[in-house]
Symmetry: C2
Subunit: 403 residues, 2 copies
């Protein structure tokens, strides 16, 4: 048998599409000894976690829980609980995760209509209107932060259209939650899901999910059983609610981690956290611009935490990413789906969204690209980024958020 040494993976700077760097306090929380899943101390932790989730989702919804799986399990949880066979649904598709929603919904027996946009662009309200026309859609779903393309989808108009048509509005917030403004209640979102390993900077393994009153009503009005036993919220919510009825054993340690990660989010403050993600994005963008690298995602609708940029012509995708990983210990993401081989996805999520990562990455990329004979002014990338920070620091004199 293979000799198996103690765990010692490489130290990485995680600037890919997630997982992101995890704060030492979160890692430490995971080494706290276990209690049972019905222990009074754990029940208290569950209540606290729900309160923290309501805060980060900006909602008063009673149902705000971590589903026991990764972000994709959150997607599946929302769709299997709200869709019954034969239901018409409208799904926004402008990347891998919109496509994934269509796949999941059709496995639930839904009649799927697509509201589409070119990859990298956001989906116009008209596209949703067109897809909804002539159908009695039960739900309209879209991705807030399309991780495969870096597009930042505006939501309030789509919510309004969905509600006017009597449909529920479901949103994928896997990559946005904790890194960009999210307003579940104010924007009229009926159900949303996320993951822990993006802007919450917690290891992957849980999927925060929230259902508003209309979604809960739809759940209660089902004529058929939810096709997934594991994700059946009619049962899961009895464990998270006052009944405390055993459903499945909660992942105790992952819940410890999530509570600590959310506690860090609350300590920082949501607005300060969104502003931090925005600032680091602007600094990175300024540096990339100096290298002549352009964004794939649509101007004015770029995600701050996921920067999808076009690989410069003639540059070897894999060679650059290998050099970043092996020489600098930096992970960035390659393209996914239509972006494969064509874009890089540079993540600045949660703990990974910080000035020293941006500057270190720009210097590393510059050195690697210089060897690849890409033409640009040496030293300009980090200088341009530093100028953005300097400006922010000057503004900080009058705005404590950047202090």
């Amino acid at each position: 048998m293979t000799e198996l040494r103690e765990l010692n993976p490489g130290g990485r700077i995680l600037m890919g599409p997630g997982p992101s760097d995890v704060h030492p306090r979160v890692l430490r929380a995971m080494s706290v000894p276990l209690v049972g899943h019905l222990d009074p101390d754990f029940l208290k932790i569950m209540d606290e976690t729900q309160e923290l989730l309501r805060h980060v989702f900006q909602t008063q919804n009673r149902l705000a829980i971590p589903v026991s799986g990764t972000g994709s399990a959150g997607m599946e949880a929302c769709l299997v609980n709200l869709i019954e066979p034969g239901d018409a649904v409208v799904i926004g598709v402008n990347g891998v995760f919109g496509e994934r929603m269509c796949d999941v919904a059709s496995r639930c027996g839904a009649q799927v209509s697509r509201a589409e946009a070119e990859w990298g662009r956001v989906i116009e309200p008209e596209a949703f209107q067109k897809a909804m026309a002539g159908k009695k859609a039960k739900l309209v779903a879209t991705v807030h932060a399309e991780t495969s393309t870096g597009a930042h989808q505006p939501l309030p108009d789509v919510a309004r259209l969905a509600h006017e048509a009597g449909a529920l509005f479901v949103v994928d917030m896997v990559t946005s939650l904790g890194g960009a403004e999210v307003q579940v209640d104010a924007w009229g979102i009926d159900a949303a899901y996320s993951g822990t390993q993006k802007c919450l900077s917690c290891p992957p393994g849980l999927a925060p999910v929230t259902f508003g009153p209309r979604a809960v009503e739809a759940l209660k009005a089902r004529k058929t059983k939810v096709q997934s036993w594991y994700l059946d919220l009619t049962m899961v919510e009895k464990y998270w609610g006052p009944d405390r009825t055993y459903h499945h054993t909660a992942p105790i340690t992952m819940n410890y981690a999530l509570r600590e990660a959310l506690r860090l989010v609350r300590e920082e403050g949501l607005e300060a956290r969104w502003a931090r993600h925005q600032l680091n994005h602007r600094a990175l963008a300024a540096g990339l611009d100096a290298l002549g690298i352009r964004f794939w995602s649509q101007e004015g609708h770029r995600l701050p935490m996921l920067n999808a940029v076009v690989i410069p012509p003639g540059v070897d995708d894999l060679k650059v990413r290998k050099a970043l990983l092996n020489d600098y210990h930096i992970e960035i993401g390659g393209g996914l789906g239509a972006g494969k081989g064509k874009v890089w996805r540079i993540g600045l999520m949660g703990e990974s969204s910080c000035r020293h990562h941006v500057l270190y990455f720009l210097n590393a990329l510059e050195t690697i690209l210089a060897a690849e004979k890409v033409k640009f002014e040496r030293g300009a990338a980090a200088a341009e980024a530093a100028a953005v920070y300097a400006l922010a620091i000057r503004s900080a004199r009058s705005d404590p958020r950047y202090a």
Copy 2:
């Protein structure tokens, strides 16, 4: 908003139905910084984990992976991947987890026939034969270690009957894996699933699953898509196999923990580990007998890691369990389903299966029951258990397994 202090749940001695105590090495593994889910270092960890899983399952199956959810997700993964709507299936039912399998299978559109036994008893091969008669069952499924009743189901005869009828044999090993003999290949098991938080002594959050060649063939021969996208093994296996195709982000930290827990299992050795669980069970049983407490589960078919015993007449279930938890920090399990209010479930799983837990628990229980006016000879319980250990230590002179 509530003030949220640093995480500090009570120190517990976990002697319930899981989670069990976690070894400090496993807790420490969870505080190792994250790498990406496609990082070469993580791919190596995945390969090592699969090798360790094959060892604990005693199988040569290529497909042996941790599903990204708790044990119940493992159950659902096995059933949704193997069942197509309309398939006939036979399920052994003698407790909560057999019932759960029926529920999951019928959500897959299966025609379910039940092979039943009274709760606490094992299911006779004749019951399976009867349930299979006149049907062309696609699979026969049963629970190896029924956590709700403590019954230890013999498997090889049922496997033979299933195969004679051309059916696959699927086994729930959530509570047995790593604590009692399991022989996936030698016993003719086509698919099996488990959980991490029982005898593997890892926190809950992953479900080890293995599929043999016949199960893989059935998976490939499906006419319909697997109804769960998240648990679709036709896609998940491409990530765990040589392709490394991204499906969903693996729960990195939970995988660190599982690898370390399985490394501990391999260091101890499977036979030594099974023997340890058996010895602590015998010592506990001797002590309980001295207190006049009898087992609920059938003699000769009792699980070593889950001792389901009848609550003595006149004794207040909740009062005793609260005293154990509050005064002694010991968690034991109450009854589930038909056992509710009628039995206690005393777990001796993985790290929790040790002499000092057995003796400490017996002394605590004796003190509590004396206050409840149960009649027994004071001091006898721990003495009887100690006698079992003394005998084992004497035998150890000739058998290094008990050293």
